[in-house]
């Protein structure tokens, strides 16, 4: 692996679904000689793209798991993570962004900034990842890269600056004009592998001059040298412009915009040049960890190979040789044979085999130095764990992981399926922190939980294909929650005398709504409840939050204030106070007017204009609130908030209402109080279920 970190790039490729991420990655691998044949995502030969290694990915034409690969370009080593575009797989995007130094944000030249582009942008902001934009699909009818550049400004607030102009658009798209070099580039050969430099076509010269002027205006803000040269009308060199663009990009103060058509093999090589020229190398990015031995103080990690090693496990996979753990090394060097410590559980791990990934193929290496991405075999850990040299105790800050919003019961068809299902669930839950599973003890059903219908559908399908675990699924269920809406007091005495030591504890106080999940305030004075029993009281209340008293949904948004109580010198115990707290909770809960909260999803539909009314109608029928609808060329984008419970089967309904021409994305937005009629319906269903169980 290259040790000069200035020649290393760790980049991600992110975008909305179907923007061509995988298609672009396939071209990058071809031009960098990693593969010798381009396979299309939904190619007629059925091979599928190299990066979509999972059978299901190839069939559906979507990327499910982010694949990692690396290539070399212009004497630089580039590690690439191809990430899924579908919102249900957002955790994959989050994980990648956490360990990447830069991102190529792909936008469709027809659809522009779409809903998932916005989500990806928010994630980039969260992890402060610099990006360059690539406006893809310039060969499509309705392509308008200038409009997309403007949308980057208007919708995402980027300081987007065109560094290229198209030579022809739609079916006349031939190449690009580089506004830094002021040259035209065409792409010849069967796969566009021959990049031909030429003079700018005469009819585009004026446009190019004007665009360069505009670009220089924007870019000069990041370089005094360039500003001086512009003002003094001195010679402006390519290096001056490139250095200013690099400074602006790394500081996340500008987004250079490139364009082309990956599918038609146009302008991918200039994009690769831009990755090298403008995206940061590991040395440009400051990474922090927390020192667990020093009050969790932040420490800056240095990409020095001789320092103690710090590596973050950001993705797990179960392969034929055991668990494959993807790591990004931030400091030092992780070598084969090294012993590292997992800072979460302080367990020692010995590094047996280290590899570099190329989609689903591997390449053995002896060491992964700081600044690089690699993978290790046979190490048991969870996603997000930090591995460090034995002499330090650092932890990287954890990734932002969302709670699942939908669940499904699954039942194996036979005994063999049962065993395989357990294996599959064990692997999937380790790989994906947003996918959870548990056994409902009352029904004995295995429940899987995830971020959306597609998310769960894909895992059920993978169980069948990869583990031969045939399962039948129940109706999807929404993860409702309960909360209270008003303040209510409690004063409960737990008293039991059944022979032997008795139990005694009294708790008094009140509960009230709060924005937090749960708050506990102890205002007991004068030793009315001895200090050693206060944690037991809190534990008692917390225990009640798992299941609401009547509807049995998790309870959130409660603040409990403990004001008074009583104890008995002999009969009081932690157990007694836990029971007293439980009694207090039950006493106050119903008086506090509990309500059901339901998950509300942000639903964005993109539809041809003629179906706009029909689509808005569909939202209205589903208790949805339309926040806005915007016509953009021939398409309309409708943004809305809809309860998740009304979204089941929506894809089929939308398809039939729009002749299959509309698509939608859905992601969790917030929890909101369910209307009374809906709450009554839920209570009724719950009661029926209970009655059925009791029969």
């Amino acid at each position: 692996m290259i040790r000069d970190l200035k020649r290393v790039r760790n980049i991600g490729i992110s975008a909305h679904i179907d923007s061509g991420k995988t298609t672009l990655t396939e071209r990058i691998l071809f031009y960098t000689n990693r593969i010798h044949k381009i396979n299309e995502v939904r190619g007629k030969d059925g091979t599928g793209a190299v990066m979509d290694s999972m059978e299901l990915e190839k069939e559906r034409g979507i990327t499910i798991a982010s694949a990692a690969t690396h290539c070399e370009w212009d004497n630089h080593s580039v590690n690439i993570i191809d990430t899924p575009g579908h919102v249900d797989f957002t955790v994959e995007v989050e994980r990648s962004l956490r360990v990447l130094d830069g991102v190529v944000l792909i936008l469709c030249s027809v659809s522009g900034v779409q809903s998932q582009s916005i989500t990806v942008d928010q994630q980039m902001k969260r992890y402060q990842v610099p990006c360059i934009a690539f406006v893809n699909k310039c060969d499509r009818s309705g392509a308008n890269p200038l409009k997309v550049c403007k949308q980057l400004r208007d919708k995402l607030g980027h300081n987007s600056v065109m560094l290229q102009l198209p030579i022809g658009l739609e079916d006349k798209h031939e190449g690009v004009i580089d506004l830094v070099k002021m040259k035209a580039y065409y792409f010849e050969g069967d796969n566009g592998e021959k990049m031909v430099e030429a003079q700018i076509p005469a009819e585009l010269q004026d446009d190019a001059d004007a665009a360069r002027e505009e670009m220089l205006d924007a870019v000069s803000l990041f370089s005094e040298e360039l500003t001086d040269a512009v003002l003094e009308e001195a010679e402006i060199t390519e290096e001056m412009i490139m250095s200013a663009v690099r400074t602006g990009t790394i500081a996340r103060e500008m987004t250079p915009v490139f364009l082309g058509s990956a599918y038609k093999n146009k302008a991918v090589q200039p994009l690769l040049n831009a990755v090298i020229s403008y995206l940061p190398c590991p040395l440009d990015i400051q990474n922090e960890a927390i020192d667990l031995d020093n009050n969790e103080e932040a420490v800056i990690l240095e990409s020095d190979f001789d320092k103690p090693a710090v590596a973050l496990a950001f993705k797990l996979e179960d392969g034929q040789y055991g668990q494959l753990t993807y790591i990004r090394v931030y400091q030092g060097c992780v070598k084969k044979g090294d012993t590292l410590i997992n800072s979460r559980d302080h367990k020692k791990v010995k590094i047996g085999r280290l590899i570099r990934m190329h989609s689903n193929q591997t390449e053995d290496v002896d060491a992964v130095p700081a600044g690089h991405i690699g993978a290790m075999f046979g190490v048991d850990c969870a996603s997000g764990d930090t591995f460090v040299s034995p002499d330090i105790n650092y932890s990287m800050i954890a990734m932002h992981i969302m709670d699942p919003v939908i669940s499904l019961s699954i039942t194996p068809k036979d005994n063999k399926a049962q065993i395989n299902m357990s294996k599959a669930l064990n692997r999937f839950t380790k790989e994906d922190p947003t996918f959870k599973t548990y056994v409902d003890h009352e029904t004995g059903d295995t429940i899987i939980q995830g971020m959306g219908e597609l998310h769960l559908e894909v895992y059920v399908e993978r169980m069948k294909r990869e583990y031969s675990a045939e399962v039948t699924t129940g109706q999807p269920r929404v993860a409702y929650r309960e909360t209270i809406t008003r303040k209510a007091p409690f004063n409960y005495t737990h008293k039991k005398q059944t022979g032997g030591a008795g139990q005694f504890g009294r708790v008094s106080g009140f509960m009230e709504p709060t924005e937090e999940e749960f708050e506990f305030v102890n205002k007991v004075t004068g030793g009315r409840i001895p200090t050693q029993y206060i944690p037991a009281c809190e534990k008692g209340f917390v225990g009640c939050l798992v299941k609401g008293p009547s509807l049995e949904f998790p309870v959130t948004g409660i603040k409990v204030t403990l004001e008074d109580g009583a104890y008995h010198a002999v009969d009081s115990s932690e157990m007694a106070f836990q029971s007293a707290a439980r009694g207090g909770f039950l006493e106050a809960y119903n008086k506090a007017k509990p309500v059901i909260m339901e998950p509300i999803m942000k639903v964005v539909i993109e539809t041809p204009n003629e179906f706009q009314g029909a689509c808005m109608g569909l939202i209205n029928q589903r208790r949805g609130i339309i926040q806005g609808s915007q016509e953009e060329g021939v398409m309309s984008v409708i943004e809305s908030q809809v309860p998740l419970s009304d979204m089941f089967g929506f894809s089929t309904i939308l398809r039939s209402a729009t002749q299959g021409k509309a698509q939608f994305t859905m992601e969790f937005s917030s929890y909101k109080q369910a209307p009374l009629s809906v709450a009554e319906e839920i209570a009724k269903t719950k009661a029926e279920e209970k009655a059925a169980k009791n029969k």
């Binding site: 208007d154 919708k155 204009n609 706009q612 009314g613 029909a614 808005m616 109608g617 569909l618 209205n620 029928q621 609130i625 339309i626 926040q627 806005g628 609808s629 915007q630 016509e631 060329g633 943004e639 908030q641």
Partner: protein, 231 residues
């Protein structure tokens, strides 16, 4: 309580009267470019939102994001005009009422009344409360809009709503003897409410051109917030 206080501060209340806004058919806010037509229309809409009614805001000139920003700004101006309002209470109220506004943007060239009719029909289909007020911002009254206005008249009769428009006037065009810009004069009979915004030194003057018998009343507004100013 806060809702009433906010309505009382509104320039729409001051000039037209909050209840009076939907008590009619077509209303118009006129001015030259950049004086504050959209801002005033937003204030008109906010009074209805504060009465827990639904508003449909159609724009042929702004993006959805811009419309959302304008409503946020309009609400903030009202809150700030009251003086001290608990930020949490103000935010909670905004959270409650803002969802009653639906913004739709159309390309001017493809805009037609049937699209709105389709949308409003879906309310009836789903048995939902219909909007009471429709704002149409950005129609070009320099062109012939007779057919479209007649379709809109029919639409508002069918769905029982009231429509307010923005109307752009021009500096070089003289006013008629009633003080109406030509854009309003052309469709005089269709509109029963009209407010003309003109710049007056460093303020904006809102002149009520039409409102039943109340005409030619003048009010001064703050040019930054459009909030009523003391005379």
């Amino acid at each position: 309580m806060l809702k009433n206080d906010l309505i009382l501060r509104s320039p729409a209340e001051k000039t037209i009267g909050a209840e009076n806004i939907t008590d009619g058919q077509f209303g118009a806010v006129l001015s030259r470019a950049g004086v504050g037509k959209t801002g005033f229309l937003v204030q008109v809409a906010l009074t209805r939102l504060l009465c827990d009614e639904k508003v449909l805001h159609i724009s042929l000139c702004d993006t959805i994001e811009k419309i959302t920003i304008r409503y946020n700004e309009g609400y903030t101006s009202l809150i700030e005009n009251i003086g001290y309002v608990d930020a949490q209470i103000a935010e909670r109220l905004w959270g409650e009422i803002q969802h009653h506004k639906t913004g739709i943007t159309y390309n001017e060239s493809t805009f037609n009344v049937d699209k709105i009719r389709d949308y409003l029909n879906s309310f009836k289909g789903a048995d939902l409360t219909l909007p009471t007020l429709m704002i149409i911002d950005g129609l070009d009254f320099d062109t012939d809009l007779s057919d479209m206005l007649s379709d809109l008249k029919q639409l508002q009769q069918d769905f029982g709503l009231c429509t307010w428009f923005s109307m752009k006037s021009h500096r070089d065009e003289p006013l008629n003897q009633n003080g109406y810009p030509v854009q309003l004069e052309k469709y005089d009979t269709l509109f029963d409410k009209a407010v003309f915004l003109v710049t007056e030194e460093d303020k904006i003057q809102a002149i009520v051109l039409k409102d039943g018998d109340r005409t030619d009343q003048k009010f001064l507004l703050d040019p930054a917030t459009l909030m009523p100013m003391e005379e």
